[in-house]
Symmetry: C2
Subunit: 240 residues, 2 copies
């Protein structure tokens, strides 16, 4: 006798009570990013629950990227509210990839979708493009090893995603990259000629950035899609 879209959650467990209290505090604005939660022992007493349950709730919030816990005294101590959606989505996706219920191919496809949309929407004047340009300069120097190059590559792509100005898309992009990072590194090691690939990637990066700066979103989107698709194809994904 329950509506379809309202799940029956049984008797609420204690840590969920704590969770909803904190979520309410956030929604009502009594708790904001940068603010601190009451100390665990205090909160336990206030809510008439055990410290154990409070801690379980905080663990969840921490895993969700909503809170950061620090020991000791001073500015870094206590449990403070942060906002890192990428952390939550990233570890969730990684775990579900581990269960083999999220195919890596679907993640790559989703990444192409989000990233080409972002490229087509990015404003030519977005400040993030500055950052992206600087990253390209860093990638251009000689003697970079593979890991360094890849780290810069990640940041370049994230900067492009940020330039579209949609926080949800940015967070999802970041988490997708994170969830398949290990996998991607593995792919890279199987490339026939890394130097050649790196040169090509750099050229494509420049093309993408130029297209965005010229206001040609459609072209940028096409280039991004080709860029990503080409990389994974060259690395031998999908067609074993």
């Amino acid at each position: 006798m329950w509506s379809d879209h309202i799940k029956y959650h049984g008797p609420m467990r204690t840590h969920q009570l704590v969770l909803s209290w904190i979520e309410a505090e956030l929604s009502e604005g009594r708790l904001a990013v940068g603010g601190r939660l009451p100390a665990e022992r205090t909160l336990a007493e206030q809510l008439k629950v055990s410290r154990t349950s409070v801690r379980e709730a905080i663990r969840i919030l921490e895993a969700m990227g909503v809170v950061r816990a620090g020991v000791g005294s001073g500015p870094d101590a206590g449990t403070v509210v942060i906002s890192d959606p990428t952390a939550a989505l990233g570890s969730a996706l990684r775990l579900h990839v581990a269960t083999q219920h999220l195919p890596v191919a679907d993640i790559v496809e989703t990444r192409m979708l989000l990233e080409s949309w972002a490229a087509s929407r990015a404003s030519p004047e977005a400040p993030e493009l500055e950052e992206a340009g600087k990253l390209l300069d860093e990638m251009a120097v000689e003697g970079l090893d593979v890991d360094e190059f890849l780290a810069l590559d990640v940041r370049f792509h994230l900067a492009l995603a940020d330039a579209a100005g949609n926080a949800v898309v940015s967070a999802m992009m970041g988490s997708l990259r994170e969830s398949i990072q290990r996998y991607a590194a593995q792919l890279t090691s199987s490339l026939p000629d890394w130097e050649a690939t790196a040169t090509r990637l750099k050229a494509e990066h420049c093309g993408i950035l130029a297209a965005i700066r010229n206001g040609d979103g459609d072209r940028a989107a096409r280039l991004v899609a080709a860029h990503i698709e080409g990389y994974y194809r060259e690395a031998g994904m999908g067609r074993p």
Copy 2:
């Protein structure tokens, strides 16, 4: 002296050790969906940690939609591995919306992006379209109240997303809807003429489904985008 893309995680906390053990078991295939974790007390003894830490790890996995914990004996008891990515993404997004760091407008925009992509990619023969058609029939009957209609509407849209065959996109779609469900319900109550709106929505649903069945993905995508955008505009979002 740590590479850019490898974060230094300080001394690993005990529950994280449990977490990585379980994640490894999943990755190595020793633990799969439907399988059960060792009992909390057993696992604690195996890993030489306290039951508290084991429980914290399990709490996180539960919040991530990776396991389900059940008391008592029998088939529903114990901690069993499931796979519900939507749960994780949904609560994460909802929490971050609460912190006001994820604008609702960005979520709506992302939903439009994902859903129109799904419509353009859906195969005309996808079995999910059967389901979608049945849902349209149910929505056509007279005397449905608003909540019932909305519940069917959600399922219709999710069915379309599933028809594209990308698990990541499906999960993200579901979580986006979940995270703004309360908000959407609030919007709906402010509609000037619900009956008229419902009639229009039903007509647009039929048009979308027909376009997909005809293999006209581009048209379907355009219709979906207009469908969603029109709804939120009519309800007064964005342009106050």
